[in-house]
C-alpha cells in the first residue's frame, strides 16, 4: 500500500501580470489503500492536482511524495516512481487512440512496469486485463470505435492497471457517461480498489458519486483545499460555506430543487 502526499504544492500558469495560481499551496494526503475524493467546481484546480501527480504539468512549488520519494523531480528514480501513479481520463473517446486496436493500447500500459514481455506473455496479460474489466478478450484486435463509452472507459482502466500502479487517479471518469453505465464503472472501480489494495484519488464534481466511493474527502475552491476530513463527517457537518452551498445544490430524487437563496 502506497501513500501519496501533496505537500504545499502550487501551480502557476503564465508569467508576470497574467500569472494565475491554479493550485495555491495545497496539502493533501491520500492514505494507503483508501480512496480519497476531491470535489470542486471547474477551475478550482482539482484536475491540475491530477496532472501534476502524473507529471503532465510541472509544479511551481512544493513537492509530491509517493512513499516518501519526491516524484516531481527530474531524476531517474523520481521518473520511475512516477510511473507507479497512473491516471484514468474523463473523456473515454479521446483517451484511446482511434487508430490503435484496444489490445495494443492496453499493452502500452505494460511499458510502465519497466519489464520486457514476450509476445505470448503480453497477449496473456492483455487477455487477463480485458477479462478483469468484463470485456470479451477475443475483441482485443478491434478498434475503439467498436465500443460504447462505458466499455471504452473500462478499457482505459485496464490500460492503467497494466502499468501495475500503486496509486490510481480517476479524473471525472464518469461525467461523460450515461447514468446506467456510471454504476457499472463505479462498481468495477470499487472492486478493483479492494482487490488490488489500490490507493486512489477520485476527482469529481458530483458529490453523490464522491460520497459513494470515498473514505475521505477534500473540497477545493480557487486552488485551495477549503475543507478536508472523513467523508461522512464532512458531508454531515460541513464547516466551509462553499461546501454547504455545494451540498444544497445537489438535486435529490423526487424532491423539488431548492432554488431560493438561503
Amino acid at each position: 500500500m502506497s501513500e501519496l502526499e501533496f505537500r504545499q504544492v502550487s501551480v502557476r500558469y503564465g508569467h508576470g501580470r497574467s500569472a494565475h495560481l491554479a493550485v495555491d499551496s495545497a496539502d493533501l494526503v491520500v492514505r494507503g489503500g483508501t480512496t480519497h475524493g476531491l470535489v470542486g467546481e471547474s477551475g478550482s484546480g482539482k484536475s491540475t492536482m491530477a496532472r501534476i501527480a502524473v507529471g503532465l504539468t510541472p509544479v511551481s512549488g512544493g513537492s509530491i511524495l509517493l512513499d516518501g520519494v519526491d516524484i516531481t523531480d527530474r531524476a531517474k528514480e523520481a521518473r520511475l516512481a512516477r510511473r507507479r501513479v497512473q491516471m484514468v481520463f474523463q473523456d473515454p473517446f479521446s483517451a484511446l487512440d482511434p487508430r490503435m486496436p484496444i489490445g495494443a493500447s492496453i499493452a502500452e500500459g505494460l511499458l510502465a512496469t519497466g519489464r520486457s514481455y514476450s509476445r505470448l506473455d503480453r497477449e496473456a496479460r492483455v487477455h487477463a486485463l480485458l477479462d478483469r474489466v468484463q470485456i470479451d478478450p477475443s475483441r482485443a484486435g478491434e478498434s475503439p470505435s467498436a465500443f460504447s463509452g462505458g466499455q471504452r472507459q473500462r478499457i482505459t482502466i485496464a490500460r492503467a492497471l497494466a502499468a501495475e500502479p500503486a496509486v490510481l487517479i480517476a479524473d471525472e471518469i464518469t461525467s461523460a457517461l450515461d447514468v446506467s453505465v456510471q454504476g457499472v464503472v463505479l462498481n468495477l472501480l470499487r472492486d478493483l480498489q479492494q482487490e488490488l489494495d489500490l490507493t486512489m484519488l477520485f476527482i469529481s464534481h458530483n458529490l453523490a458519486v464522491v460520497r459513494y466511493v470515498s473514505d475521505e474527502v477534500s473540497v477545493m475552491r480557487a486552488g485551495r483545499i477549503v475543507e478536508h476530513g472523513e467523508t461522512s463527517t464532512v458531508l454531515a457537518h460541513p464547516t466551509d460555506p462553499y461546501t454547504r452551498e455545494l451540498l444544497r445544490s445537489v438535486p435529490v430524487m423526487g424532491e423539488p430543487l431548492e432554488l431560493e437563496d438561503a
Binding site: 503532465l56 491516471m87 479521446s94 447514468v179 454504476g183 457499472v184 438535486p251 435529490v252 423526487g254
Partner: protein
C-alpha cells in the same frame, strides 16, 4: 473505413480516377519500351509537320513523332514529380514531427523558420536550389522537393500538435512511452489521412512546377526531355502548329487533374442526400391566419417518428412513434440516456432538424402551426418570437464575434420589429431578470467575457426577448457545476414565471428533472417508456424507470453495497430499412 473507401471507388468519380491512374501508370512503365523507337526515329523529310492522322500532335524539327515523344516523356515527368513529392513529404513529416516533439522554445524556433521559408515563393527557392545542384533533372527534383518541405512541415506540425494534445498521447506519456515511440505509434497514424489528401494534391502542383522549370530551361536538359521541354519546343511555333504545344499541355493538365482527383477521392465523404420534402402550401393556406386559444396545448405531437440517413445509405428510424403534449406554462422533462431519442424529439418539435432527417407524424403542432410543413413567413416570425431554444454548449450557440447585446436585440429588432432603443431597454430587463448584475455594461461584452453559467443565462435572456410560449432546454446544465446549475435553473424558472411560457427540459439526470419539472417523460430506444408526475417517481411502474432511479447514487446510498445496474437485456432498437 476501408469498405467505405471501396464504395467511393465505385462511384463515377472513383472509376474515372482509377482509369486515369492506370493510363498514367501504363504510360510510365511501358511508354519508353513501346514508343521509344517512334519517338527517336528521325524523318528529316517530314519535319515540323502539323497535326495529321499519322502524327496527331505533328512532328518536331527532326521529324520525330510528337505524340510518341509525349508518351515517352510521361516516365521522366511522373518519376520526377513523385521523387520531388516524396522528398517534400518525408522531409516535411520529419521537420513537423520534430517540431511537435521539441520543448516549447526549440519548437517556436523551428516554426519561425518554417514561417520564413513559407513566405518565399516556391519558384525562388527552386531557383536558389538549382544554383546549388546545377541545372540538371536531379537538381530540379531536389530543388522542387526541398522547396515543398516547409509546406508539409507546417501542415504536419499543425496536425501533430492537435493530436499531441489529446488524452491518449498524455496517457502514453504517463506510461513512460518515449517521444519517438509516441510519434511513430500514435501521432503518425492519426495524421495520415489528411496527409495523404495533401500529398496527392501537392503532386499535381509539383507536376506543374516541373513543367514550368523545364519550360524555362532550368529542369530537364537535352537530349532528355519531359513535358515541360516539349511544351517549350512546341511553344516556339504555336501560331503555326498549335498541336505541338497543346499536345504536351494536354498531358500535363490531364495528369495534374488525375492527381488532384485522387486527393479529392481520399477526402471524399459520402454526402447525405436530402431526405425531407416539405409539402408546399397553396396560396389560400398561406394567407390563413390562425388564432390560438390560450388553453390549447403549446405542443401536440401524435405518433412522431424521425428517421435519419444511415452511413450505408439506408434509412434508420431513431424515434418510433412518440406522442406528447405540453400544456401552457407546464414544465415537462424528458429523461433518457444517450441514443434514447430525447434530443431528436425536441429538435423535431422545434422544427430544427436538418434536411438529412425525415420527420413523420399524425400531428405535430406548435400553437396552431403545423410543423410538418414549410412555415409561411408569418409563421416563421411567430416561431422566432414564441420558441426559445437553449443548448448544452452556450459557447457554440452564441456568435463569438458579436456582442451579447447585439445578439439579444436581434430577436426583437428583426422579428418583433421593435426600435433599437426599445430593444436595448428590453435586453437590459431580460439580463436583469436572469440575475446578471450590471446588465447595461454586460450587454457590450463579447460571449467569451461571460462565464459558462452566465452565457447560459444570457441564452435564456435571449429567449425572453420575444414572447416565448415554449422554452426548449436541451441538457442546459450538463457542462456546468452543480452550484452554477442551480443559478441557471433559477433563471429558467424565473423566466417561466414572468412569461408563463412552458418549458421542455431534456436531461439525462433524472434527479434534476424530478426536482425541476411538473411531469417527467422517460424515453428509451426512441420510445416513451413511462410518463408520470415528478412528485410521484416512487410510483414508477416500468422496470427501466425504476432502474434509472435506483442506479444513480444519491446522498443516502448505502456505501457498502454495489450500485444497482440497469439490465441491458432489452432488445436493440429495430432498424427500419426504407429503400431510398
Amino acid at each position: 473505413m476501408s469498405s467505405r473507401f471501396v464504395r467511393t471507388l465505385r462511384t463515377p468519380a472513383g472509376i474515372t480516377v482509377i482509369a486515369g491512374v492506370v493510363i498514367v501508370l501504363l504510360a510510365t512503365v511501358f511508354g519508353p519500351v513501346l514508343f521509344g523507337e517512334a519517338a527517336s526515329a528521325r524523318d528529316i523529310a517530314g519535319r515540323q509537320q502539323g497535326a495529321s492522322l499519322e502524327h496527331p500532335f505533328g512532328t518536331d524539327e527532326l521529324g520525330r513523332d510528337l505524340l510518341a515523344r509525349v508518351i515517352v516523356a510521361t516516365r521522366i515527368s511522373v518519376l520526377l514529380t513523385l521523387g520531388a513529392t516524396g522528398i517534400s513529404v518525408v522531409g516535411g513529416v520529419i521537420v513537423g514531427i520534430v517540431a511537435a516533439v521539441l520543448p516549447s522554445f526549440a519548437r517556436r524556433l523551428v516554426n519561425a523558420l518554417i514561417d520564413i521559408l513559407l513566405s518565399f515563393p516556391w519558384l525562388l527557392l527552386a531557383l536558389f536550389f538549382s544554383v546549388i545542384w546545377g541545372t540538371t533533372a536531379t537538381g530540379a527534383m531536389l530543388a522542387v522537393g526541398f522547396a515543398g518541405i516547409p509546406v508539409f512541415g507546417r501542415l504536419v506540425s499543425t496536425l501533430a500538435s492537435s493530436v499531441a494534445g489529446s488524452d491518449f498521447v498524455h496517457a502514453a506519456r504517463i506510461l513512460g512511452s518515449s517521444p519517438l515511440r509516441t510519434a511513430v505509434r500514435h501521432v503518425v497514424p492519426n495524421i495520415l489521412p489528411p496527409l495523404l489528401v495533401n500529398t496527392a494534391s501537392h503532386a499535381s502542383v509539383t507536376l506543374l512546377s516541373f513543367a514550368a522549370l523545364s519550360f524555362l530551361g532550368l529542369g530537364v536538359q537535352a537530349p532528355e526531355y519531359d513535358w515541360g521541354r516539349l511544351l517549350n519546343e512546341g511553344a516556339r511555333r504555336i501560331y503555326v502548329d498549335p498541336m505541338a504545344a497543346i499536345g504536351p499541355g494536354i498531358a500535363i493538365v490531364l495528369t495534374g487533374v488525375v492527381f488532384s482527383l485522387l486527393g479529392a477521392l481520399f477526402s471524399e465523404k459520402r454526402s447525405g442526400r436530402t431526405l425531407r420534402a416539405l409539402p408546399r402550401r397553396s396560396r389560400a393556406e398561406t394567407r390563413a391566419i390562425f388564432t390560438v386559444p390560450d388553453t390549447a396545448p403549446v405542443v401536440e405531437a401524435v405518433d412522431l417518428r424521425v428517421s435519419f440517413r444511415a452511413e450505408d445509405g439506408g434509412v434508420v428510424e431513431r424515434v418510433h412513434g412518440v406522442s406528447l403534449s405540453v400544456a401552457p406554462g407546464e414544465i415537462v422533462g424528458i429523461v433518457g440516456e444517450s441514443g434514447s431519442g430525447k434530443s431528436v424529439t425536441a429538435m423535431a418539435i422545434a422544427g430544427l432538424l436538418g434536411p438529412d432527417s425525415l420527420v413523420e407524424s399524425d400531428t405535430l403542432v406548435f400553437r396552431g402551426i403545423d410543423m410538418t410543413r414549410e412555415p409561411t413567413s408569418v409563421e416563421k416570425r411567430r416561431l422566432a418570437l414564441e420558441q426559445a431554444m437553449i443548448f448544452q454548449d452556450p459557447l457554440s450557440s452564441l456568435n463569438p464575434s458579436l456582442t451579447v447585446g447585439r445578439q439579444l436585440r436581434e430577436v426583437s429588432e428583426i422579428h418583433g420589429r421593435t426600435g433599437r432603443a426599445a430593444a436595448l431597454a428590453r435586453a437590459v430587463e431580460a439580463l436583469t431578470l436572469v440575475r446578471i448584475p450590471d446588465a447595461a455594461r454586460r450587454l457590450g461584452q463579447l460571449p467569451h467575457e461571460f462565464s459558462g453559467g452566465m452565457r447560459q443565462r444570457a441564452m435564456i435572456a435571449m429567449g425572453l426577448m420575444g414572447s416565448p410560449r415554449l422554452i426548449i432546454a436541451d441538457e442546459p446544465t450538463t457542462a456546468l457545476d452543480v452550484t452554477v446549475q442551480r443559478q441557471v435553473l433559477r433563471a429558467l424558472r424565473d423566466a417561466q414565471r414572468s412569461t408563463g411560457a412552458a418549458i421542455l427540459l431534456i436531461s439525462h439526470d433524472i434527479a434534476l428533472v424530478s426536482g425541476f419539472c411538473d411531469r417527467v417523460i422517460v424515453m428509451r430506444h426512441g420510445r416513451v417508456v413511462e410518463e408520470l408526475a415528478a412528485d410521484r417517481l416512487d410510483e414508477a411502474r416500468h422496470p427501466y424507470t425504476r432502474g434509472l432511479i435506483a442506479c444513480v447514487p444519491d446522498m443516502g446510498t448505502d456505501r457498502d453495497e454495489p450500485l444497482p445496474v440497469i439490465d441491458a437485456g432489452e432488445p436493440v432498437p429495430e432498424q427500419k430499412e426504407i429503400v431510398a
